[in-house]
């Protein structure tokens, strides 16, 4: 069926700027992704899934330039011993990166894999993204599969001694970046992936994660501070029996961010936690879109998202828990909350449960509120100035989300960024 012009024209206009990489083991996946994309068309404002977030700036042929920020604080994760993999405007930078050898993990560049005839990545690259296209279309993800030439393939075979840290530098005001990572966690293997940095004027990034039985993946991300940057990111995670996936995202600044998390629990007793905190001031639109599918028994999923908004900032949360027939003993929890620091901001939430099994416990809640006046007065009556008291209550509001991070050194580091944001706004 042909797409209506309304979809087809902008889609073709965007594709006209891109060249499909040819040859190698990933080529068929790219061809298929392009075909998928052409069948879906890029998202439009009228699409139900984009009701709260205008996709225009994410799909237009050229990105809107974003000035490059100068960091006035110690870079995040600076004190953490980690294996650094640096991308500058979406291109792997071997000089700035560490040696990619680390016991318990095999790391390859997607750009190198493209040239090979066989590589394990082929079983995952575009495969999980394709699975994630139903029941809801995610065209921007297919765009990344088809056209992204850089990214890393991380094969976790053991328990690497330090986190693998992906650092995204933004140096060019007009950079338009497509990135694609593939992560495979072997049975019983455990790893932590860190991500940080503004990446580009416009970023479209996909991460496909396959966690085998008993594998564990921790993911902590801090999206960079360059205020004018725009980003659409997708994480597709397929989880085996008894596997664990814990992902946390902190977003401080960025005019437009859409983070999608698509998690499929395919093995019994798996645990998936996705959480996030964002703080937005003024021209800031942040969208967390989460889709968790329970397709096995006795699995647990948690979604905890907190947003602090002021001065006209907009926060969006679309979170769904789908419990398939037979996914008995599912424990699904979802909470999304916003703290409005003034009357100008907006929080739009669409929590959804769709359940086809009878023996499940699922709950969701969404709230939007202002600073607790009683608490504020109590703090002030003890001598804490209003600004400081408000910050303390704001941090307290975000704490429930930050508590989702298991490694306290990491959550403390993120909290430091939040404090910085608050202090800059006093």
């Amino acid at each position: 069926m042909a797409l209506p012009d309304l979809k087809q024209d902008p889609t073709e206009a965007r594709l006209a700027r891109l060249t499909l990489p040819e040859g190698g083991c990933l080529a068929p996946a790219r061809q298929e992704a392009l075909a998928r994309l052409r069948a879906m068309g890029l998202p439009q404002r009228r699409d139900e899934y984009w009701k709260f977030t205008r996709p225009d700036a994410l799909i237009q042929p050229d990105p809107i330039p974003a000035s490059v920020g100068v960091l006035d604080e110690t870079p995040i994760f600076d004190a953490i011993d980690r294996l650094k993999i640096v991308f500058v405007d979406g291109v792997f930078d071997p000089e700035a990166s560490d040696d990619l050898t680390l016991e318990g993990v095999q790391i390859d560049r997607i750009a190198d894999i493209c040239g090979k005839d066989i590589h394990w990545t082929k079983d995952i690259f575009g495969v999980l993204e394709a699975r994630g296209q139903t029941p809801v279309a995610r065209p921007l993800a297919a765009l990344s599969t088809a056209f992204a030439t850089d990214g890393v393939a991380i094969h976790v075979t053991g328990k690497p001694a330090k986190p693998i840290s992906l650092i995204y530098r933004h140096e060019n005001e007009t950079s338009d970046v497509l990135l694609h990572h593939v992560i495979r966690v072997d049975p019983g293997a455990v790893a932590t992936i860190l991500e940080n940095g503004p990446a580009a004027a416009r970023l479209n990034k996909v991460t496909e994660i396959d966690i085998a039985d008993g594998g564990t993946l921790h993911h902590v991300r801090a999206q960079g501070r360059d205020h004018e940057r725009r980003a659409a990111t997708h994480m597709f995670t397929r989880m085996g029996e008894g596997s664990v996936y814990k992902s946390f995202t902190l977003t401080v600044n960025g005019v437009l961010t859409r983070n999608e998390q698509v998690v499929e629990l395919t093995g019994d007793n798996a645990i998936a936690h996705v959480a996030g905190a964002c703080v937005g001031d003024g021209d800031f639109h942040h969208d967390d879109t989460v889709f968790i599918t329970h397709d096995a028994q006795n699995c647990e999923s948690r979604q905890v998202f907190k947003k602090v908004l002021r001065n006209g900032a907009v926060g969006v949360f679309q979170g769904k828990i789908l419990v398939k027939p037979g996914a008995q003993k599912t424990d699904g929890y979802q909470i999304s909350q916003s703290l409005m620091l003034d009357d100008d901001s907006q929080f739009l939430a669409k929590p959804e449960l769709e359940i086809y099994a009878d023996d499940v416990a699922c709950s969701h809640g969404s709230t939007s509120g202002a600073i607790d006046e009683e608490g504020l007065f109590y703090l002030r009556s003890r001598g804490v100035p209003k600004g400081e008291a408000t910050d303390l209550l704001t941090q307290a509001f975000l704490a429930e989300a930050l508590d989702e991070i298991e490694d306290k050194t990491l959550s403390e580091d993120l909290l430091e960024r939040l404090r910085g944001w608050l202090t800059r706004r006093r």
């Binding site: 607790d372 006046e373 009683e374 608490g375 007065f377 109590y378 703090l379 002030r380 009556s381 003890r382 001598g383 804490v384 100035p385 209003k386 400081e388 008291a389 303390l392 209550l393 941090q395 307290a396 509001f397 704490a399 429930e400």
Partner: protein, 251 residues
């Protein structure tokens, strides 16, 4: 020390007069008690002095050591030495009690142009003061007042008072909801702070707190006014006869 003159207060939201001309002076080193039936305006008086929103002062004044309190922000009143132990201490989820105490102590020091207390000195002081009030390490770690029992909340108020060392302490029904042992702890906490430079205003329903914290002056408040002032014997009179006689006598 604390001088309240002809204080008239009404609610901001509705046209309701609550304090109808309160006069009260607390001298340094003295303990004044306020007793009175429910709804007579005792908590309102303490909130207005501490600077809570929602009230409008239509007439009168309140000064602390000669400085007018009523135009100051609540934090400035605290820094000036005013402390209110709340009748209903507020729960603050997500803020650790210790963080709260340290933030408050240092904020007041900063406001007075003093250096912040070092982490070690602070810790030492907190441990010592908490111990006297039988507040354990766990209560210090937990979020402010969250999951605290009624008695724990009140002891926590006294701990804050002990840490902040205010000049003028107002205690609003700090004894309510306390068993005898807890009341003794609270009273000991207050008595430990008594000195000639510090004033106390103790709001209570019951004589029993005043057995432990001996007042110099007792006021009876009713319908937004101080209707009678006397010595400690006035509290005993209320204990035996209730308020009826006093109310009749004034009417």
């Amino acid at each position: 020390m604390l001088e309240i003159k002809n204080l008239h207060v009404q609610l901001k939201e509705e046209d309701k007069q609550i304090l109808k001309g309160v006069d009260l002076t607390v001298e340094p080193g003295k303990v004044h008690a306020i007793m009175g039936p429910n709804g007579s305006g005792k908590s309102t008086l303490s909130y207005v002095l501490a600077g809570r929103e929602g009230y409008e002062v239509t007439e009168g004044s309140a000064t602390l050591n000669g400085v007018s309190l009523l135009d100051m922000e609540p934090e400035a009143r605290a820094a000036a030495g005013l402390f209110l132990a709340f009748q209903y201490p507020v729960e603050i989820p997500g803020v650790g009690n210790m963080t709260f105490l340290r933030t408050a102590v240092n904020a007041q020091r900063k406001a007075r142009g003093e250096d912040e207390m070092s982490a070690t000195d602070f810790l030492k002081l907190v441990r010592e003061r908490a111990k006297a009030l039988k507040i354990d390490a766990d209560m210090l770690k937990r979020p402010v007042n969250v999951g605290f029992s009624g008695g724990e909340k009140k002891r926590n108020e006294i701990l804050q008072m002990a840490m902040l060392e205010p000049k003028m302490c107002i205690l609003d029904e700090t004894d309510s909801g306390l068993d005898v042992d807890a009341m003794k702890l609270v009273a000991d906490g207050v008595n430990a702070l008594r000195d000639e430079g510090r004033g106390f205003l103790v709001i209570t329903h019951y004589q029993r707190l005043l057995d432990h914290i001996k007042p110099d002056v007792v006021h009876i408040m009713a319908a937004g006014r101080i209707i009678k002032t006397g010595g400690p014997e006035l509290a005993l009179e209320v204990e035996t006869n209730g308020y009826a006689d006093i109310l009749n006598e004034v009417a």
